[in-house]
Amino acid sequence: MKLRYFAWVRERIGKPEEEIEPPAGIATVADLMTWLSHRGEEYAHAFENPKVIRAAIDRAHVRGDAAILGAREIAFFPPMTGG
């Protein structure tokens, strides 16, 4: 699946997107955040406070307990500040 990062999540991780295959057992968006945060210092920094991170699956907002099975694109970003 493709992961996309925006705003300070993108800056902390150091790239706008990447392809990943999470191991079996990573079932939800929250699981994925925990798994990602162990991939290195930059990920640990980006996900240090997972409560504030928002997520979208295939371009629709989801909560942390959303299942990632079948997702093509998952995005992580800070709370939005448009308008």
Partner: protein, 166 residues
């Protein structure tokens, strides 16, 4: 009802967008035009510029979802939403919402509803650049305000917000 939704780097002309929305119509009794503008200060600190990042594809879809929600809630006769992205300097326009209806209450309420949701649900992020560069703090990402969340939340409460005019 056909809505116009555009995300663009270029400036927009609020007056001509409002004129386009009502052109040739005789059923429209009220047009509300809201323009959000880049201010020259953030909490008292002078601003050099603001850069808006967005999530292409999702931003359009999210704006369209909220325009549809507004259409279900109020009897609207036209909606235009234009949101800019990229680097904007103080005094430049950021966002435009135009709503048209037979009665003003519906046009006002729908415009306010759309702005409240654009601020909290549309995937845009503002980064501000302070005047004077690194000495004055360089660039920071704007923090989401809980007051904006509360404004968006009120539309979901029973009897919250303002309902369609009689």
């Amino acid at each position: 009802m056909a809505a116009t939704i555009r995300l663009q780097r270029e400036p927009f002309d609020a007056a001509s967008e409002a004129a386009k929305l009502r052109h040739g119509r005789r059923d429209i009794g009220a047009v509300v035009t809201f323009t959000g503008i880049c201010r020259s200060d953030e909490s008292g600190a002078p601003l050099a510029a603001m850069t808006l990042e967005h999530y292409p594809g999702m931003a359009e879809a999210e704006v369209a979802r909220h325009v549809e929600a507004a259409e279900r809630r109020w009897p609207l006769l036209g909606v235009t939403v234009i949101h800019r992205y990229g680097r904007l300097e103080p005094g430049e326009d950021i966002v435009l919402v135009v709503t048209a209806a037979a009665h003003r209450q519906d046009a006002f309420a729908a415009a306010e509803f759309l702005m409240d949701y654009l601020k909290t649900r549309a995937p845009f992020w503002k980064q501000i650049e302070f005047a004077g560069g690194e000495k004055t703090g360089g660039k920071i990402w704007v923090d989401a305000k809980s007051s904006d969340d509360e404004l968006a939340e009120r539309w979901t409460r029973p009897g919250g917000g303002r309902e369609a005019a009689e």
